[in-house]
Amino acid sequence: MDPALRAAATGMMAQQTRTEVIAHNLANVNTPGFKRSRAHFEDLLYQTVQGQQVLGENDTQITPAIQVGRGTRLAGVQRLHEQGPIEETGRNLDIAIEGEGFFQIQLPSGETAYTRDGSLQISDQGVLVTSSGYALQPPVRIPDDASEFTVSATGVVSVRRGNDIQPTEIGRLELARFANPSGLLSLGQNLLAPTAASGQPVIGFPNDSGMGRLQQNSLEGSNVEIVQEMVEMIAAMRAYEINSKAIKTADEMGQIANNIAR
């Protein structure tokens, strides 16, 4: 009876993990640039309890092998990099990426991390930083006498200095792109780090050779869809329930077996 109990227990654990992933998605329904994840499962190795058998001699019959599975396991949690909705915020330091690409930021450790969250700020040094305070790469310094900060679709940052009438170009934003963005490692704080699975970053200007374009005064919303997550959650709950019934049945069968010898 044990294998049935264990198989059902792996089913319950899988549904638990699925619910955790859904809860994380739902918690981030308002996080700018957030990408939803989904859990993937696979069946465990099968035990061949009896190999192929040949019955009889003349009118030979072959019975196929009998295989019994041993449950399920988490195969992976995949982040889905679909475009989130572009939401107009009216704040001139909010920049959304429409299409592929990530902003590059420098971590205090000196390493580079990547984000889609373009809610930028100006630090006390006058440098463009993310909402968590990490400096954008390559760094863009805003002069003290600047006004009318604008970012073009191709990433050109310009301001009007002092009493000038013509805007001055003070820098250009760059984006990085990965062959397999789902392979990036989540660091929290909307930050992602490259891994062997994601491939090396390809750096380029926005709106150029497949890179997304920038949109000022907007933010990319989370790509979590509440209705979809709710449906998933109901399905997960029911599957959890039904696996608990399998455990109960296996347990009752064990009790019956124990009653054979009185």
């Binding site: 009876m1 294998p3 198989a7 059902a8 792996t10 089913g11 899988a14 549904q15 699925r18 993937h40 499962f41 696979e42 069946d43 465990l44 190795l45 099968y46 309890v49 019955l55 009889g56 019975t63 196929p64 092998a65 009998i66 295989q67 019994v68 599975g69 449950g71 399920t72 195969a75 992976g76 995949q78 889905l80 679909e82 792109r177 062959a179 397999n180 789902s182 392979g183 062997a196 699975a197 994601s198 491939g199 497949g210 399905a235 029911r238 599957a239 039904i242 696996n243 019934k245 399998a246 455990i247 049945t249 296996a250 009752e252 069968m253 019956i256 077996a257 009653n259 054979i260 009185r262």
Partner: protein, 234 residues
């Protein structure tokens, strides 16, 4: 062929108990995989052996699962029969789970990193918008790349399961002509486990198990009488 074995009520009842236990194990595995994409349920049926003992046999139920729209361009599903072919270290394997992705070298792989095979081997895709038509032809930014290999086995074949929703192809495998396939992009095939029928089957197993146990106990009681009462001196 050995001659018919004298049927022994006790061993008949015991084989029924064993058969039902195996059935319950298979049902538990199916239910555990109720949300494993591309999973195919195992069905069990009792087989009467030459010696009149019951035995649980298993077979893969290849009924298609429902397709769920995911809007992800690398999620592929097959409508009707057929399998995608992936290249694993142990050889080529069949999968129905089309949750594909690109690896660091932009090669199309399954969720375990095994390359998905096209007509000309592994598939590497350039940067751009990936589109897959019903025949499995992959185009990137309108430029045709490779056509996916989609194969089937003779109907009624009992495929051997490997973990990870993979199947081991058998000798009857053949390529499905492109015109007879329906590859759907942006969809994934759900598990084909039907929780409702699995539940009812599980209840049946439970009740039969109780009945077999009663039979066993009754035969035992009859033997007990035979041994203790018949042998008593008059």
């Amino acid at each position: 062929m050995p001659g018919p074995v004298q049927n022994n009520g006790l061993s008949s009842a015991a084989s029924a108990l064993q058969m039902l236990e195996r059935k319950q194990q298979v049902l538990a595995n199916n239910l555990a995989n109720a949300s494993t994409r591309g999973f195919k349920a195992e069905t069990t049926f009792a087989r009467m052996m030459g010696n009149q003992l019951a035995k649980a046999d298993t077979a893969v139920d290849l009924t298609p699962g429902t397709l769920t729209e995911t809007h992800n361009s690398l999620d592929l599903a097959l409508e009707g029969d057929g399998f995608f072919v992936v290249d694993t270290p142990a050889g080529e394997r069949f999968v129905r789970n089309g949750n594909f992705r690109l690896d660091a070298n932009r090669r199309l792989t399954d969720d375990q990193g095994n390359p998905v095979l096209g007509e000309n081997g592994a598939i590497s895709l350039p940067q751009g918008t990936v589109e897959v038509d019903a025949t499995g032809l992959i185009t990137v930014n309108g430029k045709p790349q490779q056509r996916l290999r989609v194969e089937r086995v003779a109907s009624g074949t009992d495929l051997e399961h490997e973990g990870g929703t993979r199947f081991i192809p058998d000798a009857s495998r053949q390529v499905i002509p492109p015109t007879e396939r329906t590859v759907k992009q942006g969809f994934l095939e759900e598990s084909n486990v039907n929780p409702m029928s699995a539940m009812t089957e599980m209840l049946t197993v439970l009740h039969r198990y109780g009945a077999a146990q009663q039979t066993l106990s009754t035969i035992d009681a009859v033997r007990g009488i035979a041994v203790t009462d018949l042998a008593k001196p008059a």
